[in-house]
C-alpha cells in the first residue's frame, strides 16, 4: 500500500510539469495583449516597460523554466492585471471560498441525494421510486444557470427569504447567502448520487448473501445497515472524487450569477484577461487538487473493498 502511495505521489511531479507546459503553450498561442484592457492603445514605451517587468521579453523557453521554478517553489508570481497582488494572494483569498461552496454543495448532495436513492431502492417500482427517480433525472438534465435563476426568482425575489447575491466573508462564516448557491451547485451531484445509490443498492439487494441473511432471520435493519449500505456506498466513494473535482472546477456559472468571489470566476476571467501568471497558478492548483482527490479515492477504495486489497498483496 505504501509503495502504491509513494509511486502515485512521485508521479504527480511530471504531471504538473506537463500541465504547466500545456497551459503555457496554449496561452501563448492565443492572441491578446494582457496589458491592454480598454480601447486605448498602449503606447510602445509603456508596453515595453510592462513586458520587461514581467519577463515577457525573454525567449519562450526561458519563461517556461522561470514559471516552472516558480511552481515548485510555490511562488506563482505577480498578477499581470491586478498589479498590487500576487497570484499567491489571489489564491489564498479566493480559493477557500470555492472550497467552502463546493463542500456545501457536496453536503447537500449527500444529505438529500443519498437518502433519496436509498429509499428508492428499498421500495422499487413504488410511487416513491418513480417520484424520486423523476426528480433525480430531471435534476441531472437541467442546466445550472436555469436552476440558479429559478431559485433566485422564487426564494430571493418573490418570497424574499434570502438575499439575491453575495457571500459571507471569513473562512468559517455562514449565513443565509450560502443556501441558494450551494443548492444550485449541488443539484447535479444530488441527482447523480440518488441514481447511483439506488442502482448499487438494488444490485446488492439481489446478492445471495443478503437472501441468506434474511433467511437466517437477521433483523431487516441490521441487514440493510450493516451489509447492504456499506457495500453500496463503495461506488459512491469512488464517484465522489471526480464529483468533488467537478464541483470545485465547475463552479464558474454559480459564482458569476451569485457574485461569489471564488476561484472559478477568477480562472475564467484571467483567461479572458490574458493574465498568464494567474492562469498558470490556478490551473496548477486545480490539477493538484484533482490528482489528490483521485489519489484519496483510490486509497479509500483500497481500504473499503477487500477484494482490491487482496489483489494487490
Amino acid at each position: 500500500m505504501t509503495a502504491f502511495i509513494i509511486r502515485r505521489v512521485v508521479w504527480t511531479i511530471p504531471v504538473i510539469c506537463f500541465v504547466v507546459l500545456m497551459t503555457f503553450l496554449l496561452m501563448r498561442q492565443i492572441e491578446g495583449n494582457p496589458f491592454r484592457r480598454t480601447e486605448r492603445a498602449v503606447p510602445p514605451q509603456v508596453q515595453a516597460n510592462l513586458e520587461r517587468k514581467f519577463n515577457l521579453d525573454k525567449p519562450a523557453a526561458v519563461q517556461y523554466l522561470l514559471y516552472l521554478k516558480g511552481v515548485f517553489t510555490l511562488d506563482f508570481g505577480p498578477s499581470l492585471v491586478l498589479r498590487d497582488r500576487t497570484v499567491n494572494d489571489i489564491m489564498r483569498e479566493h480559493f477557500p471560498v470555492s472550497i467552502k461552496l463546493g463542500l456545501l454543495a457536496f453536503f447537500w448532495a449527500l444529505i438529500i441525494g443519498l437518502p433519496a436513492g436509498i429509499i428508492a431502492a428499498l421500495k422499487p417500482n413504488s410511487i416513491y421510486d418513480y417520484v424520486l427517480m423523476l426528480f433525480s433525472n430531471v435534476g441531472f438534465a437541467l442546466p445550472s444557470f436555469l436552476v440558479a435563476t429559478v431559485l433566485i426568482y422564487y426564494a430571493a425575489l418573490k418570497w424574499d427569504l434570502v438575499p439575491t447575491n453575495g457571500w459571507p466573508s471569513g473562512t468559517w462564516a455562514l449565513d443565509s447567502r450560502v443556501l441558494l448557491p450551494s443548492i444550485a451547485l449541488g443539484f447535479v451531484p444530488m441527482a447523480y448520487f440518488a441514481r447511483l445509490v439506488r442502482g448499487t443498492m438494488l444490485e446488492t439487494l439481489q446478492q445471495d448473501y443478503v437472501r441468506t441473511a434474511r433467511a437466517k432471520g437477521l433483523r431487516y435493519r441490521r441487514i440493510v445497515g450493516l451489509h447492504v449500505l456499506r457495500n453500496s456506498l463503495i461506488p459512491v466513494v469512488t464517484a465522489s472524487g471526480p464529483l468533488l473535482g467537478y464541483i470545485i472546477t465547475g463552479s464558474f456559472v454559480i459564482e458569476f450569477i451569485f457574485s461569489i468571489p471564488g476561484i472559478g470566476r477568477y480562472h475564467v476571467q484571467s483567461v479572458n484577461n490574458r493574465d498568464y501568471s494567474v492562469v498558470m497558478g490556478i490551473t496548477v492548483l486545480l490539477a493538484i487538487i484533482i490528482i489528490i482527490a483521485n489519489l484519496i479515492v483510490d486509497i479509500l477504495y483500497g481500504f473499503l473493498d477487500p477484494r482490491t486489497r487482496e489483489a494487490r498483496s
Partner: protein
C-alpha cells in the same frame, strides 16, 4: 458482449431462439443479436417513451423550419416579446423573430453539435484506447500514464482557449472545444473492453487459426465493443449538450444569426422576469434532450447487456 460467431469456424447450425408465440410447426426464425436487443428494449417502457420523444423532437427540428411561414432571421421590432399565441406558439424574442421556428433551428444546431462532438469523443477515444489496449505492454503503460496526466487539465479554461485559438466560434470550433477535454474516459473504457476481450477464447482461437492482427481487431474486437459504444454515445450526449449550453452562457456560443439552445437561453436570461418563455423554452428543450438520452442509454444498456439475456 458476446457475438456468436461460431458459424464461421464450425459448419454447424447455431442455436436458435424461439420467438414468443411460435406456432407449432411454423418455420423457426433465426434471431440475431439486434432483434433480441430490440425486443428487450421495447420492454422498458421508459426507454420507449424516451425514444419516441427523441424522434418527435428530431422531427420538429427538421420539419418546422421548412414549413414555417416566418423568416427566423428577420428583424421586426413591432412584434417583439409577444407572448405565446396561436400565430406564435412560443412567442417572439427581442427582435420580433418567431420563437417556435428559432427553437427548431437552434435544435438542429444543438443536436448536430451534440452528436458530432460525441462522435469526435468516441473516435478519438476509440483510436487511443484500442491502440493502447491491443498493443499492451509498455506502450499501453505509457499511454495510460499520459492519459492520467491529461486528466489534470481543467475543462473550462481549455475549452475557452480552444475557442479563442480561432478567430470566430463556428460549428466545428464548438465541436473541437467540447470534445478536446472529454475523450479521456471513453479511451479508458475502450481500452478496458479491449483488454477483457483479448483474453477471450475466440480471439485466441482466431489467432491460432492464423488471423492477422488487423482482422482480429476489425472483425472481432471492435464489433464487440460496438454495443458499449452505442451506449456510450447516449451517455456522453448529455454532457456535451450541457457543455455547449455552458459555453454559450459565457458568451462563447455560436455566432448570430445562428443560435443554439444554449445561446438562446443566455439571451433570455436578461428578461426572465418579464418574459420567462425566452429562457424557459430553450432550457427545457435542453433538459428534454438530456433526459431522453439518459433513458435511451439505460434502455440500450439493458437491451444489449448479456447478463440479462434470456434463453
Amino acid at each position: 458482449m458476446v457475438v456468436d460467431r461460431r458459424e464461421e469456424v464450425l459448419p454447424v447450425a447455431p442455436a436458435h431462439v424461439h420467438e414468443a408465440g411460435d406456432a407449432a410447426g411454423a418455420p423457426i426464425r433465426q434471431s440475431s443479436l439486434w432483434r433480441d436487443a430490440k425486443r428487450r428494449y421495447m420492454r422498458n417502457k421508459a426507454a420507449v417513451v424516451a425514444a419516441s420523444i427523441f424522434f418527435v423532437v428530431l422531427a420538429y427540428c427538421i420539419i418546422v423550419p421548412i414549413v414555417s411561414p416566418y423568416d427566423p432571421d428577420a428583424v421586426n421590432f413591432q412584434d417583439r416579446f409577444l407572448p405565446p399565441s396561436l400565430e406564435h406558439p412560443f412567442g417572439t424574442d427581442g427582435f420580433g423573430r418567431d420563437l417556435f421556428t428559432r427553437v427548431a433551428l437552434g435544435g438542429r444546431i444543438s443536436i448536430a453539435i451534440g452528436f458530432s462532438a460525441t462522435l469526435a469523443i468516441l473516435i478519438i477515444g476509440l483510436t487511443y484506447g484500442s491502440i493502447s489496449g491491443f498493443v499492451g505492454g509498455w506502450l499501453d503503460n505509457g499511454m495510460m500514464r499520459f492519459l492520467d496526466a491529461l486528466y489534470g487539465l481543467p475543462y473550462l479554461p481549455f475549452a475557452i482557449i480552444v475557442t479563442q485559438f480561432f478567430h470566430e466560434v463556428n460549428f466545428w470550433v464548438m465541436v473541437l472545444a467540447l470534445s478536446i477535454a472529454s475523450w479521456f474516459t471513453a479511451a479508458r473504457i475502450v481500452r478496458g473492453q479491449i483488454i477483457t476481450l483479448k483474453q477471450n477464447d475466440y480471439v485466441r482461437a482466431a489467432t491460432a487459426v492464423g488471423a492477422r492482427w488487423y482482422r482480429v481487431l476489425g472483425r472481432h474486437l471492435v464489433p464487440n465493443t460496438l454495443g458499449v459504444l452505442i451506449i456510450a454515445i447516449f451517455l456522453e450526449l448529455p454532457g456535451v449538450i450541457l457543455g455547449e449550453a455552458f459555453l454559450s452562457f459565457i458568451g462563447l456560443g455560436i455566432n448570430p444569426p445562428d443560435a443554439s439552445w444554449g445561446s438562446m437561453a443566455q439571451e433570455g436570461r436578461d428578461v426572465y422576469r418579464t418574459h420567462p418563455n425566452l429562457i424557459l423554452i430553450p432550457s427545457l428543450a435542453i433538459a428534454t434532450l438530456v433526459l431522453c438520452a439518459n433513458f435511451i442509454a439505460d434502455g440500450l444498456r439493458d437491451a444489449l447487456d448479456p447478463r440479462t439475456k434470456e434463453t
